[in-house]
């Protein structure tokens, strides 16, 4: 985008909006709070407040840089959460699938990085890991998993 170049910042009134390489910055992206910009992408950005302006072309370029990092980091974070849940509850992948109401084999696919977890599942497992034994007991109120409680 060449239309905004060296413009006084509308947002803070102090800085200047000019194309800046965001490589190395950490941005909120999709529903993740922090995704690193791992490639070169020049976005009109204020040097004081950091606000950026995007047209369609810039948005596509930024997405192209952020999406691979998002998918990789989301996969890593989901695998970490699932592994922690399996370890804390001392249950099998099949048990965890029953616990979470997932299709057979789905946890395996997530752990192998063959699928990217939906946000509700990712966040729920994160919540479960905050207090696994409490979560297990609470889920037993609504799911047929009494055998996991007894184990």
């Amino acid at each position: 985008m060449k239309t905004i170049d060296g413009t006084p910042c509308y947002f803070c009134g102090e800085g200047t909006i000019a194309p800046r390489n965001l490589r190395g910055a950490v941005l909120q992206y999709r529903d993740e709070r922090e995704i690193p910009v791992e490639g070169d992408v020049f976005v009109p950005t204020c040097d004081v407040c950091g606000e950026s302006l995007m047209d369609e072309e810039i948005a596509r370029e930024l997405d192209a840089v952020l999406e691979p990092a998002y998918r990789r980091l989301r996969g890593e974070r989901v695998r970490d959460e699932l592994s922690r849940a399996l370890e804390a509850l001392e249950i099998t992948q099949s048990d965890l699938e029953r616990l979470l109401g997932l299709s057979p084999g789905y946890v395996s696919k997530l752990l192998k990085g063959k699928r990217v977890a939906e946000t509700p599942l990712y966040r729920f497992v994160h919540l479960l890991n905050a207090n696994p034994s409490f979560g297990l007991r609470a889920l037993a109120d609504v799911a047929p998993i009494n055998d996991l409680l007894a184990a």
Binding site: Y10, L27, R30, V43
Partner: protein
Amino acid sequence: MQGAAGARHPLADVRACLADPRRTVVARTTAAQMIAAHFGWDYGGAAAFAKEVVRGLAEENFHRRTTMADGTPADEYGVVRDGISWYVKLFITGNPPRLLIVSCHLPQWDIPTPAGIVTCTQRGLRKR
């Protein structure tokens, strides 16, 4: 709503800018990023959505005039789209004119408009 003054930037001019992708820009943190977080979309999808919300604005959605930090005059709107309330701030600047969508996010307060009150609690539009 402040006084009887209407929008500084006529919606016809806003739509003229929207018709040309090179003449519309969207702020990242206060528009695209907040839409992206709400829906889980990428920036391209979020920016396109912001433009669609603005394209759907009518005069009855106007809330008030305001000014940016650098003194640029802007307009604020409140609108309900598919049952979800949205706060919008925009202005047109430059030659050739460019539309800048400053804000497009869930409102943090109730927004009085001629069409009714756009509620921040996502109850939609409340007629006065």
